[in-house]
Symmetry: C2
Subunit: 327 residues, 2 copies
């Protein structure tokens, strides 16, 4: 088995974030649950956008943010995700490549435009996401470069993209290719709504020994396990998956690797501006630590540092020099 | 003469800013002069963008930023500027309307896309602008709503848009309409490059008693007057224009109204993040003060407060509650 060229190849939504500051009243008036993510169609995206305040646009997408973080730390990351042939697609492709992420998925000319996520950020820094997936859900097996998958130490999959059929089929094929090449497969659970929609499919992946690394937050791991108790939920997956990593917001993060449990506190942040991307950048830091062969606890710490950087400003892509921050 | 519905109607570039942090070395390598603005074509925009780091997109345009600031302070502002029928055009229209600015210019389906300004921000907070004007320079007389012009106390013109022929023709017609309705006409000089290209035309406007209010910075007023001495430059225009307002960066601002000269120091800012929009928001604050009938000195102070808010963050549209800030 040759040394892989990439540390991580991720497959996920290719999305531009449209971020607007708002008051809690606006969420109430729109019937939105703070902190949630929901999928919306083009019509609802147009309606909600017209009610939102002025916004700033930055490239996003959960797994894409993770690869951006890895590249910003000097890691070697690739990304697979679908944009359309439009201006937002150009912005997405520019930003991810500008950070040094290998991104070769060709834009496609479909009816749907490039996906976007309308993000409402309340004064407490919490983000409420309304995702119009657009072209992002048009990812098919044809978009995969199997040699690229075989050349990455870890294939990292985003659960958001596990819900629609075409991208899930692409991900299932990517898993086969990665496994055949002796690579590891990681999954991030993304959101409770994804778990509700694809529970059996996630459990099949875990039970079938297909998964080497599972990322989740507290609510997600409880939801997938069906356990109300955190420790029981963690134990349920730690038996099946060699490495389970769970973020618990201001309570820090915990990892269980082959029975050994390690936890770290959250990094202090002076002012939480926008929590968008906290989990994505935690995963980036953790994966970089692991790629450098650092101990589990160090990897968790680097993840926490990266999460702390991202929630101190608007947008889910790193602004500070992550390499210097981590050093 | 009826009470005008709008405090200010501005005509200017309709542009989305593409803002990227960079090091001084990048400016040197690209042969760019720090702090300058230059017009670039589509090809150069594509080339430069491909060399830039990841970016954030926010709506911009000099006079558009000024109307955004006025609306954010509760003033009644309108804007006229041309976008294309594309995603950046939708973003521009959304953002300016979301702030409460009256914006009725219909997007047009031309070869050029919506204009954008590639802004490189160095660690000292200085911005270097590379503007691909795109559809913005396709503004014609047909885009004007003469009733709207007649219904604004001040017609505010951006010198950037005075350079290309079609928009200048539209502005000349707008001046006629405003004058016929007994309204005031204001001009902001925008940039030295504009002055070099249209010196005679600006001087004609000033000498012909067409101008009631002139905004400039120190370098611009020196360039237009041909005087190397600031006081001499100021005096040259204060004789011709009833109200001249000049910003002098960290030295503050000065106004001369019918012979009376008033100046204020600059507002202190902890950390200058991005100077983009400082002059635009100064004008917004000043015009709001004047619209509320405040003394000249107060208007200058409000302008300084608004400029200080805008340079403390990325982007040229207000993020803080300007109304509260000024109160």
């Amino acid at each position: 088995m040759t040394q892989p060229r990439l540390n991580v190849l991720a497959i996920g939504d290719a999305i531009v974030d449209v971020i607007s500051s708002t008051e809690d009243d606006f969420l109430t008036a729109e019937g939105l649950m703070k902190g949630s993510m929901r999928l919306i169609d083009a019509e609802e995206a147009t309606r909600l956008y017209s009610h939102m305040g002025q916004a700033r646009e930055t490239s996003g997408g959960s797994a894409a943010n993770t690869t951006a973080g890895i590249a910003a730390m000097g890691g070697r990351a690739g990304f697979v995700g679908q944009v359309a042939t439009d201006q937002l697609g150009e912005i997405f492709a520019h930003d991810i490549r500008a950070l040094g992420v290998e991104y070769e998925t060709r834009p496609i000319d479909v009816e749907d435009p490039t996906g976007r996520c309308l993000i409402l950020v309340t004064p407490d820094g919490q983000r409420t996401m309304n995702t119009f997936a657009g072209a992002s859900h048009c990812l098919t097996v044809e978009a995969l470069d199997e040699a690229q998958i075989a050349d990455a130490a870890i294939l990292y999959l985003e659960a958001y993209l596990w819900v629609p059929d075409r991208p899930r089929a692409a991900m299932l094929r990517a898993i086969e290719v990665a496994k055949a090449a002796g690579r590891k497969v990681a999954l991030t659970l993304s959101d409770i709504a994804c778990i509700d929609k694809r529970r059996d499919s996630f459990l099949d992946l875990i039970r079938g020994d297909g998964l080497d690394l599972l990322f989740a937050n507290e609510a997600e791991i409880k939801a997938l396990s069906g356990e109300g108790d955190f420790d029981a939920a963690l134990a349920a997956f730690a038996e099946k998956v060699p490495l389970v990593v769970v973020t618990c917001s201001e309570k820090g993060a915990v990892a269980v690797e082959r029975g050994r449990r390690v936890s770290v506190p959250a990094q202090r942040v002076d002012k939480v501006v926008d929590t968008t991307g906290a989990g994505d950048l935690f995963a980036a830091g953790f994966l970089c630590g692991q790629a450098e062969g650092r101990p589990l606890e160090d990897s968790l710490r680097i993840g926490s540092l990266c999460a702390a950087e991202i929630i101190a400003h608007f947008g889910a892509r790193p602004e500070a020099d992550l390499k210097a921050l981590v050093a």
